[in-house]
Each structure stands twice: as structure tokens, then as C-alpha cells.
């Protein structure tokens, strides 16, 4: 299994999921009109990773903005990592939001509540 690297574009985020280190990045904009198509390989990758995850996984999420069709897909990705966590593995969810971005702060709190998993939510200067 190889790492997943999708370079960021104007409407899609950076996805860098590294199965050698267990450090995962999901970062930037997610506002494609075709989110399902973009997130399909991402979901497939996490599904495969979940079959034999590393002892420790760190998921770093930094969204500048996501549209509503991405919101469902992002929840799907987070659920896959939540499954890994719920199987007794160590998964850390780091949710970063841009300074003063109340909406992204709330989104992080919301996802954490839906999944029933604590997130480390912190403000950063800029995304």
C-alpha cells in the first residue's frame, strides 16, 4: 500500500495520507461541485489503511472553507478514521481553524460531537 498524495487545487484540498508515519493531512479548500468523485479514492484509501493501521495515527485537518456537498464527504472520511479509533487504536484528531473563523471552529466541534470522539481544536494564524 502506498501513501496517498493529492496536491491542493483551487477547489480541492491537499490530501497527504502517509501509511509509513501515520501522519495524515487534509488541508485547504473543498468546494468542488463534484465532491463525491474527489473523495471516493480518499475514502477507499482510508478503508484499506483501516485494515492494518499503524499503532498511532495523527489526523491533521485544516480547512479554509468547505461547501455543503464536501461536508458530507468529510464526515465520511472522519467516520473511517473514527472506526479505526473505535477498534482500540490510537488516533489523534487535530482540527485547526483560521484565526477568527468561528464557522470552522463550530464545524470542528460539530464533527467531534457527531462522532463522539474528542478533537484537539486549535486556532492557527492562517490556512
Amino acid at each position: 500500500m502506498e501513501q496517498l498524495l493529492l496536491e491542493p487545487k483551487a477547489k480541492t484540498p491537499l490530501v497527504h495520507f502517509d501509511n509509513k508515519t501515520g501522519v495524515m493531512f487534509l488541508k485547504g479548500m473543498s468546494c468542488s461541485e463534484n465532491s463525491l468523485e474527489f473523495y471516493k479514492p480518499v475514502l477507499d484509501w482510508v478503508e484499506r489503511y483501516g485494515k492494518s493501521p499503524l499503532e498511532s495515527t495523527i489526523l491533521n485537518i485544516e480547512f479554509k472553507y468547505f461547501n455543503t456537498s464536501s461536508a458530507k464527504c468529510i464526515l465520511d472520511v472522519l467516520e473511517k478514521f473514527a472506526n479505526i479509533y473505535n477498534m482500540g487504536n490510537n488516533v489523534v484528531f487535530n482540527w485547526h481553524y483560521e484565526k477568527n473563523d468561528e464557522e470552522m471552529l463550530e464545524a470542528g466541534e460539530n464533527f467531534s460531537e457527531i462522532l463522539g470522539i474528542p478533537f484537539n481544536i486549535s486556532e492557527i494564524e492562517a490556512i
Binding site: K11, S35, L36, Y65, K99, E102, E103
Partner: protein
């Protein structure tokens, strides 16, 4: 109105009427986004305007009526959509307009009325309920668009105008107020 007011140095004004494509949306969003970076220092407001604009435009593009040639009206360009954004000292105003088949309008109207009847807290709960369901339309949309707009901009104002026996015109308006200085 006084047209010269549109020339205020910190305002936005853009109107589009025509056949909307996702490529065009990218251009419109880029233009407005650049302008917002210049004139709006409040990040929360800026992101609300950006988000509402994008959801409105993507919604229009997904749901514009595909009209049969024999049904073309001699009076209206029914494949076209209208999008307008402008701002004044009170806030940002987004207006859209498109033709909707009569049989679909009832559902649309009921959906908007339902959202408009909810409190802020209930809108958040509805958003989460839809977020958690795994349903997507054939077009890949998740049914969150209007709920998200209501979360960001409050009341979803609309007006339905009669056109002919098959279509009605749906005018939609959202306002994002600027904080009182």
C-alpha cells in the same frame, strides 16, 4: 436608485444573466472573492458571503430546468439564470432568479417555508440530521444547500411569479448584514 452609489470605493456590484456553467461559476467566485479580500476585513462576514454565493451558484447550476425545445417560451430565456450580488453600508445582498417547472415549485416552496419556520438552534439540528444521512441525489448533491444558507444568512426570502402553464419564476434573496460599527 442613484447609480453613482454603486461607485463607492468599498462596494461590490456584479450581475450575471445567461446560461450558467461550473466554469463560469469559478470565474464569478474568483472575481467576487478577490473583491472581498480588498474591501471586507471581517473574516466571518467575508466567509459567509463567499459561502452563500457559492452555494447559490452551485444550486442554480445543478437545478436549472432542462427545457424541451417545443416548450421554449417566445418571451423568456428559460435556460438562463440570474445572479446578482451587491453591497451597501447595511451589508451584502445576493439575488438569484431562475425558471422552475410548476410541479417542482411546491416542494421547493415547502422546503424553504419549513427552514424559515425554524429557530437558529433547530436549523443547526436539521443541518446535522441531513449531514449524517447518507443520501445523495442523482446529481451528487446532499440536500444541505438551503439549510446552510439559512445558517449563514438567516431568512430565505423568495417570490414566485407566474409565467405560463408549465413554468414559474423563482426569485430568491439573501442578506448578510455588516456588523453595526
Amino acid at each position: 436608485m442613484d447609480i453613482h452609489k454603486k461607485m463607492q470605493h468599498n462596494s461590490i456590484s456584479l450581475t450575471f444573466k445567461g446560461t450558467l456553467t461550473f466554469e463560469l461559476i469559478d470565474s464569478i467566485v474568483a472575481i467576487i472573492s478577490n473583491r472581498l479580500d480588498q474591501i471586507e476585513s471581517n473574516l466571518v462576514i467575508k466567509k459567509k458571503v463567499y459561502g452563500v454565493m457559492l452555494e447559490c451558484l452551485q444550486n442554480l447550476c445543478f437545478h436549472v430546468e432542462k427545457i424541451n425545445e417545443e416548450d421554449y417560451s417566445p418571451h423568456f430565456d428559460q435556460q438562463s439564470t440570474l445572479f446578482n450580488i451587491d453591497s451597501d453600508e447595511k451589508g451584502y445582498h445576493i439575488t438569484t432568479g431562475n425558471f422552475v417547472a410548476k410541479e417542482k415549485m411546491e416542494n421547493l416552496k415547502n422546503w424553504l417555508d419549513e427552514i424559515n419556520s425554524l429557530s437558529e438552534q433547530e436549523i443547526k439540528e436539521l443541518y446535522n440530521k441531513i449531514l449524517r444521512n447518507k443520501n445523495y441525489s442523482e446529481k451528487g448533491t446532499g440536500g444541505l444547500g438551503f439549510v446552510d444558507m439559512a445558517k449563514k444568512a438567516g431568512k430565505l426570502k423568495y417570490k414566485i411569479d407566474a409565467i405560463d402553464d408549465k413554468y414559474e419564476f423563482f426569485a430568491f434573496n439573501l442578506n448578510i448584514p455588516k456588523p453595526i460599527a
